[in-house]
């Protein structure tokens, strides 16, 4: 029920009603931007931004830097393991 899927804002459909076209796994659909646009920020500024979409609304701007850091942490675990494993070291 709280399912959310990442998608990329590829066009602004109607700046008045704050709707954008978001591509989700190759499928394009209309998504409302009211929850991710601070007042006074033009919708066009979000072109190319990835968002988390839930029941037709963009609910969060996905933070690419935070995603990278989480993956880096996981990769570090991997490297630590490799360094500590004699078979790999040999």
């Amino acid at each position: 029920m709280c399912l959310g899927v990442p998608g990329e804002i590829i066009a602004i459909e109607d700046a008045g009603s704050l709707t954008a076209v978001v591509e989700i796994s190759g499928v394009r659909r209309s998504v409302n931007l009211a929850c991710v646009l601070a007042e006074g920020v033009p919708p066009e500024s979000l072109l190319g931004q990835w968002v988390l979409v839930h029941v037709g609304f963009a609910m969060s701007l996905i933070d690419a830097e935070e995603a990278r850091k989480t993956l880096e942490l996981l990769a570090e675990l991997q490297n630590l393991a490799a360094a500590g494993d004699p078979e790999v070291r040999d």
Partner: protein, 371 residues
């Protein structure tokens, strides 16, 4: 898919599982087995069963599948209310697909539709609003349900309806809030949970602060988690690290989506449109104070509870149902006498068999071989 595939990498998963096993082997944790971790959200329950994560975890580490599946905890009398509305000749009743299959006391909305009621599945509440614009001679009722994740979408749709002055659009509101229910579980002496995997998408709306009491007053670690297998495994490791160190804090594994303060615009829309109800009924758990919302008086004209006569008669669950015990972690789904025989996803008797996010339905779908 970007932001999904990289969080399913099996090599990283193996490494995380090795770390979890090594952390579990520490004397501090071995002294307090079993370690019981509740995943609050039905989305996590679904991922855990879909990827078979439970079977990969070391012995002594148990996952308890919590109450975060709004469709599962929807009381049957609420479905009866929807059916009474849908039986009116000039009504189109709209709701999410998940809600269509929930059994009421006599039938589900899907069955009512098959018998001729105008019940339509929508992907978004905005779709229901469009149906209202397109059918000015009908009354369009959106049955809105879900946690804080979904509430802002309903709130913004109502704000839009008010702006347009639509007189034929109504909301039957069954939005519920997860925090009072977590508190009720923590206060329940029968519930034994050491730590929580926190709901990622509820948190993207409400932020971290509402959970602070869980760490401060109840001393339970709480990690807000994403929904991919690596997210869940990393969250489990973070919880075990806290338990190992004797710490209890609210941490955020799902930083790419969840900010500390949550979503300000969404919170503002919710605060304008909804107010807390005194109490709300949860199937399998009973009534919990301040665990749901209704429309504020400003939006009274859109309130289906005022516009329609509703039966709202409490319907008890079948006496054999053990959903409450499963929800509290006192019983595994397969141990229920109805599981897989009289209660299946196509003919659910109990709440947890209704949605694919319910513990029993997820278990039935992915683990039938082990059952």
């Amino acid at each position: 898919m970007k932001y999904v595939d990289e969080f399913r990498d099996p090599e990283h998963a193996r490494r995380l599982l090795a770390e979890i096993a090594s952390r579990m082997a520490s004397p501090a944790l071995q002294a307090r087995l079993p370690i019981r971790i509740m995943e609050v959200c039905g989305g996590h329950t679904h991922s855990i069963f879909r990827y078979g994560l439970e079977a990969l975890l070391p012995e002594g580490l148990e996952l308890i599948h919590g109450p975060g599946c709004p469709v599962c905890v929807l009381p049957r009398e609420r479905v009866d209310d929807c059916l009474a509305i849908a039986a009116q000749p000039d009504v189109i009743l709209t709701t999410f697909g998940d809600a269509m299959r929930v059994p009421g006391s006599r039938q589900s909305l899907q069955q009512a539709k098959a018998e001729g009621a105008d019940v339509r599945m929508v992907y978004s509440p905005l779709d229901a609003l469009q149906i209202a614009r397109d059918n000015p001679d009908k009354r369009i009722v959106f049955f809105g349900l879900g946690f804080e994740t979904t509430m802002p979408a309903t709130a913004i749709t109502l704000q839009q309806a008010a702006r347009e002055g639509l007189g034929n659009f109504f909301l039957l509101c069954h939005h519920i809030t997860i925090v009072p229910t977590l508190r009720a579980l923590l206060d329940d002496d029968d519930v034994h949970v050491d730590a929580f995997i926190g709901p990622g998408h509820v948190s993207m709306v409400i932020g971290r602060e509402p959970y602070a009491f869980i760490a401060e007053a109840y001393h339970k670690p709480f990690v807000i988690s994403g929904f991919e297998p690596l997210d869940i495994l990393q969250s489990i490791l973070m919880l075990l690290n806290q338990l190992h160190e004797g710490k209890a804090a609210v941490e955020n594994q799902y930083r790419r989506v969840v900010s500390a303060a949550g979503n300000a615009q969404a919170q503002q829309a919710v605060a304008e449109v909804f107010e807390p109800r005194e109490r709300s009924a949860w199937r399998g758990l009973g009534e919990i104070e301040h665990s749901g919302v209704r429309l504020t008086s400003t939006y009274a004209a859109f309130d289906a509870e005022r516009a329609f006569a509703l039966p709202s008669q409490v319907v008890a669950d079948p006496p054999d149902c053990r959903c409450g015990e499963v929800l509290k972690g006192q019983m595994r789904p397969q141990a229920c006498p109805l599981f897989g025989s009289r209660c299946t996803p196509s003919h659910p008797m109990g709440a947890l068999m209704v949605s694919s996010e319910g513990a029993c339905a997820a278990c039935f779908q992915y683990q039938r071989m082990d059952a």
